[in-house]
């Protein structure tokens, strides 16, 4: 690791999401390799890198979908390494998936009511859907602009609408940190603008973002802090204009 | 318990374990290539046993000769079954729906056998049925040895095929990582079909071996599917060596427990091993990434 000097292994910032030496291999291929990253709380962080550089695997390790082989993940001073995904979600980290994942045979409104931030199973069993939850769901649907579809089955929505639904569903639990895996993937320019706008507004309301994205225009205009991955490891980090000119980043992307 | 009785049980356990290992390898193949729990595996086993019995009854020839046509037939049926039935299911619900589909196939086979041959217990009359010999004081029937030999040869053949042929390589790649296999140009659909064919071929061989020294009847397959499924869970779903080792271990355990407990209670050993495995080590003892998810 040649880049440790720029990723100091000091105590992560209070309130931030950070990983230290996170690694994960699949049958000899090191998908994530000793990733030590600290994300800035309250900011829009981006994770970029060439295809197959381990960004999604990294996301999956952070959110507990995959158990890392070694290393640790901490959030707001707590070690959350290897916790089951629902615990990590309940700790306040929401995420979307690369190929948009919604619940196809449930209505849009039902999709919104899945998320759980707290409470016991028994509590959920006896409580009917709360009026307040439904109101909140409608408010969020209005916010992303698909409130008129609340009774439609999610599978009948267009891909763009499904993406908006997924985002709204993540917001339902009111997570402090939101991880988006390719929010602009497969959607038209108008919708990219719209999603970008939403991210910006939510950020101004205090949400921290971690975004994996290939759309450079979006990343450069949106993010405060960029981490560049190559072959499973972070090779550079900093403000957009700094990262843009980093020779290691150019090398990784262009293979110079 | 005397030493020779113990030895006898050990030898019988190994002989039984060999057959279990072959059949569990087949079950693992289906699961590996398509994530399908093939409930009908043991129904095909009994079907092959019936075919061997019917063949020897009609022709008067040795039932082992029925392998000449049952193995290719079962291979073909496996490929067709994968292509026409299993591959039609939606990927999202594949695991569950394939269970139901193969379960219904098992019912059809059991019902058809019952309809054609009745519920009567059948047994092949072999000229060498009574032949047995002593190994270190253990009395072993020749038919059991033949059955074991058959299973061992088939298992070795399967091993060679998986390890040293291009098809085997494609199969292993598909089992380990279907997406990656596709990326390197393997037609995983076709490979899955062959995987199914091979799995059913093990049932054909196992069934013939079974017919040599067992009484068969249509609903017998339920006695086999439980232990076989226990074996593949203990071995770790998708791991062929794991299945073979677990088969040997559980076969031996069953055989040894028969001495103090009797045949019926000894069978519960499989289920206890199944529950213990899921409680303590849900991915099985030789399982990999695959088993953790299922």
């Amino acid at each position: 690791m040649s880049d440790t000097e720029m990723q100091p292994r000091a105590e992560p910032l209070a309130g931030s999401l950070a990983t230290v030496g996170l690694s994960k291999s699949f049958g000899g291929v090191r998908a994530v390799d000793d990733a030590t990253v600290t994300f800035l709380p309250g900011k829009i962080n981006a994770v970029i890198g060439p295809n197959g550089s381990g960004k999604t695997t990294y996301f999956n390790c952070v959110t507990g979908m995959i158990k890392p082989d070694s290393g640790s993940v901490s959030y707001r001073g707590n070690d959350i390494t290897g916790r089951p995904p629902h615990r990590i979600a309940q700790a306040g980290i929401g995420r979307s998936f690369q190929l948009c994942r919604i619940f196809p045979r449930m209505t849009v409104l039902e999709n919104m009511l899945v998320s759980v931030r707290s409470g016991t199973v028994l509590g959920k069993l006896v409580s009917a859907r709360q009026r307040t939850d439904i109101d909140r769901a409608r408010e969020l649907l209005t916010r992303v602009g698909i409130d008129h579809l609340e009774h439609a089955e999610a599978r009948d929505l267009s891909y763009g609408q499904q993406k908006l639904l997924e985002l709204a569903g993540v917001l339902m639990a009111d997570p402090e940190t939101i991880m988006l895996d390719e929010p602009a993937g497969g959607v038209n320019p108008a919708l990219i603008d719209r999603i970008g706008g939403l991210v910006r507004t939510l950020n101004s309301e205090g949400k921290t973002f971690l975004i994996v994205e290939h759309n450079m225009d979006m990343i450069m205009s949106l993010s405060d802090h960029i981490v560049v991955f190559d072959r499973g490891s972070p090779i550079a980090a900093g403000a957009p204009e700094v990262v843009q000119d980093d020779p290691r980043v150019l090398e990784a992307y262009l293979g110079v | 318990m005397t030493g020779s009785l113990l030895l006898q049980s050990l030898v019988l356990g190994v002989l039984l374990g060999g057959l279990y290992a072959l059949l569990a390898a087949g079950l693992t193949l289906y699961f590996g290539v398509m994530r399908v729990v093939m409930i009908a595996h043991s129904a095909f086993l009994i079907l092959a046993a019936y075919l061997a019995w019917y063949f020897s009854q009609q022709t008067g020839l040795d039932p082992l000769l029925s392998l000449v046509f049952t193995v290719p037939l079962f291979f073909g049926v496996g490929v067709v079954m994968q292509r026409l039935l299993i591959s039609r299911l939606r990927p999202a619900t594949l695991t569950m729906m394939s269970v139901l589909l193969t379960f219904s196939v098992a019912l059809v086979i059991e019902g058809t056998l019952g309809f054609l041959f009745g519920g009567t217990h059948r047994r092949i009359q072999l000229p060498y049925a009574g032949t047995s010999f002593e190994i270190f004081g253990a009395n072993i029937a020749l038919v059991k040895l033949i059955a074991f030999g058959l299973a061992a040869i088939a298992l070795a053949g399967l091993y060679v095929l998986l390890k040293f042929t291009p098809l085997g390589q494609a199969l292993r790649a598909t089992i380990q990582h279907p997406e990656a296999a596709q990326l390197v140009g393997i037609n995983t659909d076709r490979v899955a079909g062959y995987g199914f064919g091979l799995g059913l071929a093990t049932a054909a061989i196992g069934g013939t071996a079974l017919a040599l020294d067992s009484t068969i009847y249509p609903s017998l397959h339920w006695h086999w599917i439980g232990p076989l499924m226990a074996i593949i869970v203990v071995g770790g779903l998708g791991s062929i060596p794991g299945a073979a080792i677990a088969a040997m271990a559980l076969g031996l355990g069953q055989s040894l427990l028969q001495i103090p407990l009797g045949t019926t209670w000894a069978q519960t050993f499989f289920y206890l091993a199944l529950f213990a495995t899921l409680m303590l080590h849900p991915q099985g003892f030789f399982g990999d990434r695959l088993a953790q998810r299922f």
């Binding site: 995904p85 629902h86 979600a89 929401g94 994942r101 045979r105 039902e110 899945v114 998320s115 759980v116 931030r117 199973v121 959920k124 069993l125 409580s127 009917a128 859907r129 709360q130 008129h148 009774h151 439609a152 089955e153 009948d156 929505l157 267009s158 763009g160 609408q161 993540v170 639990a173 038209n188 320019p189 108008a190 919708l191 | 994530r35 729990v37 569950m96 729906m97 269970v99 139901l100 589909l101 219904s104 196939v105 098992a106 019912l107 059809v108 059991e110 019902g111 058809t112 019952g114 309809f115 006695h223 779903l237 209670w265 289920y271 199944l274 899921l278 409680m279 849900p282 998810r293 299922f294």
Partner: protein
């Protein structure tokens, strides 16, 4: 033009809401009336006994559907719980002399408690292990109950003491048990409906649709699955216990039969697992067909073939069941449905993301009104 059609939509969907509800309530009322009147209409005790059998299947299939319908986990071994429920009820009566109905309830509780470790073993990982355990459990229980003669009566079976005195004649017995089963069914249906409306139910359905995604949204999937599994085992055991009290005899071969479990699956799937009434409809169709088959052809092996073929057809060609298919037909043939859909589409493309938003994929089902029903 656009304004006009929009207004039409609002008007018709506003009127459609109560209409759908009225239709549903009318249907429910008709069903209740039919159930209440059935014993009077039944021509002879045999028909009435078929009614009891179908009612029992409806209870079992509905109980099965707590797991199958909500989570999508297919259990082929639910006969374990009905069988255990039956045996628990009878053994409690025989050994403690407790009131039969209390014994039935206690039997349900005991089975629910037993279901906890079973659920822990089989639900921690995904579907395959669950299926394997469900089948293994039936096989092991059959083995145990056949062999443990001193306690369970073994292969000879167990005679069940009658809950009603001998002075109550057969037809009267049938009638009482028909109603008792109906009450149990109503309770199970009510529970299913309550869960369906709860946040818990939403989480369960999310597990059925996409378990990883549900967990990423904070749903404790294992705990949810375990709870609904225990509820399902409880109701199945009650169903088994009540059937035992009616039938009067327990034979391990039939109590712990893989076929009983597969009937529950077939009925639920055929009717539609995502609807509370699906399993009941399936129970009526399959139960009637089975009794008809038995009466016509006796107990041959052909019924196995028929069961297998039917199950295969359902799995391959109509995994959603009859009720959704019927609903689809209704939607297709309702005249105003198309106009609503067109405008909804138009609205949605206009409102959602401006004119450049790609139009909704046309998969033929689910407009505003119908889906919500």
């Amino acid at each position: 033009m656009r304004n006009d059609s929009s207004r039409t939509v609002v008007a018709s969907s506003a009127a459609g809401w109560p209409r759908a509800r009225v239709a549903k309530l009318t249907g429910l009322l008709a069903l209740v009336v039919f159930v209440v009147a059935f014993p009077r209409m039944a021509a002879d005790p045999f028909i009435l006994s078929v009614g009891v059998i179908i009612m029992s299947y409806a209870v079992l299939a509905t109980s099965w559907n707590f797991v199958g319908g909500f989570t999508g986990y297919i259990s082929l071994g639910h006969a374990s719980y009905s069988g255990l429920g039956g045996y628990a009820t009878v053994l409690l009566i025989l050994h403690t002399g407790v009131n039969p109905w209390l014994a039935m309830f206690l039997g349900g509780v005991i089975v629910a408690l037993l279901a906890i470790p079973i659920g822990i073993a089989s639900l921690r990982v995904r579907g395959a292990s669950f299926v394997i355990v469900s089948i293994a459990l039936v096989l092991i229980l059959l083995l145990v109950f056949q062999s443990w003669g001193s306690f369970t009566g073994g292969s000879n079976g167990l005679r069940v003491p009658r809950p009603f005195g001998d002075e109550v004649l057969r037809p009267e017995q049938h009638e009482r048990f028909f109603y008792l089963h109906a009450v149990l069914l109503a309770i199970a249906v009510l529970c299913w409906w309550l869960i369906d409306r709860s946040r818990f139910g939403t989480g369960l359905k999310a597990i059925r649709e996409d378990e990883d995604k549900a967990q990423s949204l904070g749903v404790p999937t294992f705990a949810y699955k375990l709870v609904v599994f225990v509820i399902s085992a409880f109701f199945t055991a009650l169903g088994g216990g009540m059937y035992a009290l009616w039938f009067g005899f327990l034979d391990p071969i039939f109590q712990f039969s893989i076929l009983t479990g597969s009937y529950m699956v077939l009925m639920s799937l055929l009717g539609g697992i995502r609807n509370v009434f699906g399993p009941i409809l399936g129970a009526v169709i399959v139960g009637y067909a089975m009794e008809f088959f038995k009466a016509q052809y006796g107990d041959t092996q052909i019924h196995l073939v028929a069961l297998g073929v039917l199950l295969g057809i359902v799995v391959l060609f109509m995994p959603d069941g009859i009720l959704p298919a019927l609903r689809g037909l209704v939607i297709r043939f309702r005249p105003q449905a198309t106009s609503i859909r067109e405008v909804t589409q138009e609205e949605l493309t206009r409102d959602a993301t401006g004119s450049r938003e790609e139009s909704a994929t046309d998969r033929g089902t689910g407009t505003k009104e119908e889906v919500s029903g």
